[in-house]
Subunit: 319 residues, 2 copies
């Protein structure tokens, strides 16, 4: 057995785990990212936690993997991530090497999730697959020939910003109609709010989310619960979301002809209300030459472990 450190750097918290090569997270630690405004003290405290894990377990590690917003694989830096209190271009490798001479590999969260699935999850042994992560936004990680696609800039695999509906919904990226505007948690809430206005007169009064609840107080979790309780507006919301996501996934297949498309993240927890229309739409929109060669699957990793496992897996991936 070998050991690896996986670090999930979020805007609020930084989760660290000591990961064994069979995919078990044997120890975990946590520091508050937003308590820091400089890289040096942040890495100093991070390394103290890592050292304490290694001492406690009495093991050495083969590397440190970091999943971070705006993480660039090529430079090993976090590039001006808007949601971090530590500003600027953060060179983690350089800073960590002051404490420990091990390989440091960094990428964004969705890429890390893809490699986590490849090394520890349902994509073991696959040469070609795509991971979609649904959350506040929509991310993706693409594996071709067993390797993560980084592209010429390090920024490949941003399928959440594929324009699905030309001149469609306004996206936070400044453009319109991105997949993310329809299938992120926020996009799902927007669809629900639109549909309850449209369907309201004849249907919402029987529904699960009372008409008196204001749009701004609705969460995708509430819509998921409502769908599973049979609310017609919530079900229609997931019909639309699944339709669009299935279409986007079928489009992605025309690029790399993957063996599977994996899906993970909070908004997928609703289950069948999303997955049924998604599978139907994927099948309907898949080009005939790909029939039977690719299916849509849920991630096989635990939701509360995937970020650390994915980060650790970055160290294990084929360069």
């Amino acid at each position: 057995m070998t050991y690896t450190i996986g670090i999930d750097m979020g805007g609020t918290n930084t989760d660290m785990g000591l990961v064994r090569s069979d995919g078990a997270i044997v120890l975990r630690r946590n520091i508050p990212t937003n308590a820091y405004t400089q890289l040096e003290p942040y890495v100093k405290d991070m390394m103290a936690e890592i050292k304490s894990m290694l001492d406690e377990q009495g093991v050495e590690i083969d590397g440190i993997g970091i999943g971070a917003p705006n993480g660039n694989f090529y430079t090993g830096c976090v590039d001006n991530a808007p949601n971090l209190t530590i500003k600027g271009v953060l060179d983690f490798g350089k800073e960590i090497h002051k404490y420990m001479e091990v390989p440091v590999v960094l990428s964004n969260d969705a890429n890390a999730a893809a490699i986590g699935e490849l090394v520890y999850g349902g994509a073991k042994g696959m040469q070609h697959f795509i991971m979609f992560t649904l959350g506040t936004g929509v991310g993706s990680g693409i594996v071709v020939d067993g390797k993560l696609v980084h592209g010429s800039t390090g920024g490949a695999g941003e399928l959440g910003h594929n324009i699905l509906i030309p001149e469609g919904r306004q996206c936070s990226c400044g453009r319109k109609g991105c997949l993310e505007t329809y299938t992120s948690a926020r996009g799902i809430v927007q669809t629900f709010c639109e549909l309850r206005k449209e369907m309201g007169s004849k249907e919402t009064k029987f529904g699960w989310i009372a008409p008196s609840v204001e749009d701004k107080d609705i969460t995708s979790k509430m819509i998921g619960d409502a769908a599973n309780a049979g609310d017609p507006v919530a079900l229609a919301t997931y019909e639309k979301t699944g339709y669009l996501l299935g279409l986007a996934m079928a489009n992605a297949v025309t690029f790399s002809a993957p063996e599977a498309i994996f899906l993970m993240g909070g908004p997928t927890k609703v289950g069948e209300p999303l997955m049924k229309p998604l599978r139907e739409s994927f099948k309907k929109h898949l080009l005939n030459i790909y029939e039977g060669s690719c299916d849509v699957r849920m991630s096989e990793l635990n939701a509360n472990e995937v970020a650390i496992l994915g980060a650790a897996a970055l160290v294990k991936m084929k360069k």
Copy 2:
């Protein structure tokens, strides 16, 4: 200098060329594909022509590359191509090896064009780029990390069948709204015919293609000439075509973050009436993180050489 045979297998003709490693086609031969219904006599006559080229030039070759409809790189076979008079699964490697023990590499036309650009054209030295080929259909070839993306089936890189307009125009593939239905030669003609109905009352009478010309007699070449002569309907046709193709190309960038997107084929010969709106749309729809890292370029290969050069280049590509 080394030499390679490149074969462009079309439904009507099969063009063969003896290609020198500097990209010069030193000899060419031709046999009529549609005179054959069986693979054996077809390959027999093909090999006789190849042998005559090698004898005439007094050289040996490092391999034979074939660009063919439905050509599958992994199997080395042409799989049931609907437009060929020779039916079934055609195992070229096996048949050619009866005559000559050299590597035989086969792929579809668009993949061959991409590798032609990489080995002999404007993509020399690039690690990441995408080729779009416009013709009767729309094909694509995708290069990631210096290698062609074949995917799990050999059928990757079918961006002409990316669904650009959900529930849009009927495509010959049976689905709706594929890029091909808008930006192939046929798609351009359809757009023109639609627009001249819409714009007709106030504009077509001043235009270049007389209203008396029936829809079925209009070709994309005529529309190209009309656009360059200032016909407003033809110009509006390319405005729409360029807008949609630029959008599709910007979407493709979110996948592999290429250094460049190349474009070739008959419908591109019109020049600026297509390229100007295409570049504007590409710029407008490109996600901000890719700004300045990728541009749209015309293929640097001669239109009448690209198919043979691309086929020959297949032998030279990184596996």
